[in-house]
């Protein structure tokens, strides 16, 4: 081996920290700083601004005179708001649990060494790619008793078939659930599929040798092992449920009556169409508080766990 020239070695004059080394240690923070600053201003600054507005009498545009809790009194005296909260509870619970159940079910089916996986995967995933601005009309037709499923079934000879949830005040919220599940369950499927693929094959072999049947393996070993995926899925879905807006607007516009009002549509309509910006802000504050209650414990546990 022929030696290569020793590379000139930089000797700092002083053993103290030079500007260069100090800059070196600061650089990562400098890189992170813009993103963090942006987040502080555009998220937390705006949240504070919204909180402030909720204490004003803003109507069509923001005004900045404080009037106390007036907007909150108004908010909590709106039957619409209670309806929105009740709907969110129904929608949230069903949406999250159905997405997870269906997503997991399909993921398990897809995990059985399916030949056509390359063909099927995009079919389950594509609804996530489409906005409801795009699919809303198709869904509206499909669920409309006069045009869609009901009519098709009746044309096919099943005269007594009835599916009128879209226009039924008691059932309309479930049509939102159906469309929502259609859209998001494929994504959840992908998450579960990734989780399933990540499971060590030896563990399954071990379970077989321990005498477990296939159902026992899924029930006792695999599904419990997917716990972190469940958690991620719940968080992702919860945030989509809370933010759901397009879905409702495209499908029912909040109707019939206010049967499908959600906090997000409530907030939008009070802020922008009903010229009650303060009430809208108050509802936004309530939503943020709800989200905080869900997310912060999750973040806390997630970031703590890393320590060990």
């Amino acid at each position: 081996m022929t030696p290569i020239e020793p590379v000139p070695f930089v000797t700092p004059e002083r053993p103290r920290r030079t500007v260069a080394t100090r800059l070196g240690t600061l650089l990562p923070k400098i890189v992170l700083a813009p993103s963090f600053a942006i987040t502080l201003v555009f998220v937390y600054g705006f949240i504070l601004w919204t909180v402030y507005l909720s204490f004003t009498r803003s109507r069509i545009l923001p005004v900045y005179d404080l009037v106390g809790f007036d907007a909150y009194y108004r908010l909590w005296s709106q039957p619409n708001w209670y309806m929105a909260i009740k709907n969110l509870a129904i929608f949230g619970v069903l949406y999250i649990s159905l997405c997870i159940a269906i997503g997991l079910f399909i993921a398990i089916l897809m995990d059985q060494r399916i030949r056509a996986e390359g063909l099927l995967r995009p079919i389950f995933l594509y609804p996530m790619a489409l906005s409801f601005v795009v699919t809303g009309t198709a869904w509206k037709w499909f669920l409309n008793p006069g045009l869609g499923l009901e009519k098709t079934m009746q044309n096919l000879g099943w005269e007594s078939f009835k599916f009128d949830w879209l226009i039924n005040t008691d059932m309309a919220i479930y049509t939102i659930v159906i469309a929502g599940v259609w859209q998001a369950s494929g994504f959840v499927m992908a998450m579960f599929l990734a989780g399933l693929r990540g499971i060590d094959g030896e563990i399954i072999k071990a379970a077989q040798i321990d005498g477990a049947s296939n159902t026992a393996i899924y029930r006792r070993i695999i599904i419990p092992m997917l716990r972190p995926v469940f958690l991620s899925a719940v968080i992702v879905l919860a945030h989509m449920a809370i933010k759901s807006y397009d879905l409702v607007i495209a499908l029912t516009g909040g109707g019939p009556g206010n049967a499908t009002e959600l906090p997000s549509t409530f907030m939008y309509s009070y802020t922008f169409t009903r010229s009650q910006m303060a009430v809208g802000s108050a509802s936004a504050v309530m939503m943020l508080m709800g989200i905080t209650a869900i997310i912060v414990p999750y973040l806390y546990s997630e970031l703590r766990e890393k320590r060990s």
Partner: protein
């Protein structure tokens, strides 16, 4: 080059074609037209976009707007001033006072009215009506009788689209029919709590419940034009809707009097509930002001008024436009408007933002829609209506 930027929600074929007249007129004067269409929900999204534009300090030149929204925006001090132009062209004389109510703020002209719609119309399929006896109904009872006949024919008696604003449009027509103009003014314009929970109002809601039974099962969430189509195709007998509905008939190449009949909603003959699309001129600064004024002038140009309103189904916002180019329904509309204005039977439409600010309007919609959809009873509606209105004020 000078230009105007116009925010509107007239995105469909006919209206856009009519707007083109305005655009071309301006282009001839060397002013380019930047189109800013925002469709959907009768201007809901447009108002959101407008808020964003105004907040960012860059408002569009002119914005299509209705009734009380104009007042709200004027109050924010972000609109321009058209006094010079209006004085020069004598708008005070040719534009009805009821419209000026909205076109002016604190005595200053701020908007150029485009048209006058009236909402208390009933549209009937002529063939179906003939089968049902041929006589146009003149009060609620006759209406129910006709609807019953339609039912016997096996068609949907009343085509209605279940969206809050359509429910509201129907409701205000019933209010006017049941209570008359004085009651309408008291209950709707003055939002008198007593009137809102009176026995008359109970009758209104009872009638609404009754009408509900003549809808087809698919009414919920349906766009109004689809309902109109049902009537056109003879699948339904009648539709209560504003005069913009006529555009659909015309486009389907149907003739007033031959294929369809336009009448005032039974019981509201002689009264007109109106709404008026206006172009509100925003405060855009001196450099764009010239173009803005030219646009305002072009809007009030009789040629444009005729071209636009014949397509849209509405009547001109100026009283000095001849009715020669209009069809029977149009002529009737112009005549009704003039008479109602003279007799004091002209009032703003609630459903279209000319009776109350949008907060109150939507509060009323909430109650009306929930009642119509059976979520609340009439008793509850009567109790809740004054509350909702009060809390929205």
């Amino acid at each position: 080059q000078e230009s105007v930027e116009v925010l509107h929600w007239w995105t469909s074929g006919g209206e856009a074609a009519a707007l083109n007249v305005l655009k071309e007129n301006l282009q001839k004067q060397g002013i380019s037209w930047q189109d800013m269409p925002v469709a959907g929900g009768s201007g809901v999204q447009a108002m959101t976009a407008l808020r964003a534009r105004v907040t960012s300090g860059d408002p569009p030149t002119a914005v299509q707007m209705l009734g009380f929204d104009i007042k709200d925006w004027a109050e924010m001090g972000v609109v321009g001033n058209l006094n010079d132009l209006a004085n020069e062209q004598g708008w005070d004389k040719v534009i009805p006072a009821a419209l000026q109510e909205f076109s002016k703020y604190d005595g200053d002209w701020i908007a150029a009215p485009v048209n006058v719609h009236s909402t208390n119309w009933l549209w009937l399929n002529k063939a179906a009506l003939d089968k049902a006896g041929g006589k146009a109904p003149e009060n609620m009872d006759e209406l129910f009788a006709v609807l019953d006949k339609f039912k016997e024919q096996g068609i949907t008696p009343l085509a209605h689209g279940g969206q809050p604003w359509q429910d509201g449009t129907l409701w205000e027509a019933v209010v006017l029919s049941v209570g008359g103009m004085d009651f309408y003014k008291k209950a709707v314009i003055d939002a008198d709590a007593e009137a809102l929970s009176s026995d008359t109002m109970r009758k209104v809601f009872d009638n609404m419940s009754k009408l509900r039974e003549y809808f087809d099962p698919n009414f919920s969430g349906r766009d109004w034009n689809l309902s109109t189509a049902l009537v056109i195709e003879g699948k339904a007998g009648a539709q209560q809707m504003g005069d913009w509905s006529k555009g659909e008939w015309l486009r389907a190449e149907k003739k007033p009097g031959e294929d369809f009949v336009c009448i005032r909603f039974p019981g509201t003959q002689g009264s007109v509930l109106f709404n008026s699309d206006q172009f509100v001129m925003f405060d855009v600064g001196e450099d764009k002001r010239n173009a803005q004024l030219k646009m305002a002038a072009a809007v009030e140009d009789p040629a444009f008024q005729i071209a636009f309103n014949t397509v849209k189904g509405s009547v001109p916002a100026r009283t000095d436009v001849p009715d020669t180019d209009f069809d029977d329904c149009g002529k009737k509309g112009m005549k009704d408007l003039a008479e109602a204005a003279a007799s004091g039977n002209l009032a703003g439409s609630l459903a279209h933002g000319h009776a109350q600010p949008s907060s109150v309007k939507e509060a009323v919609f909430d109650v009306v829609t929930q009642h119509l959809n059976g979520q609340i009873t009439t008793d509850q509606a009567l109790e809740r209506l004054p509350q909702a209105v009060a809390s929205a004020q």
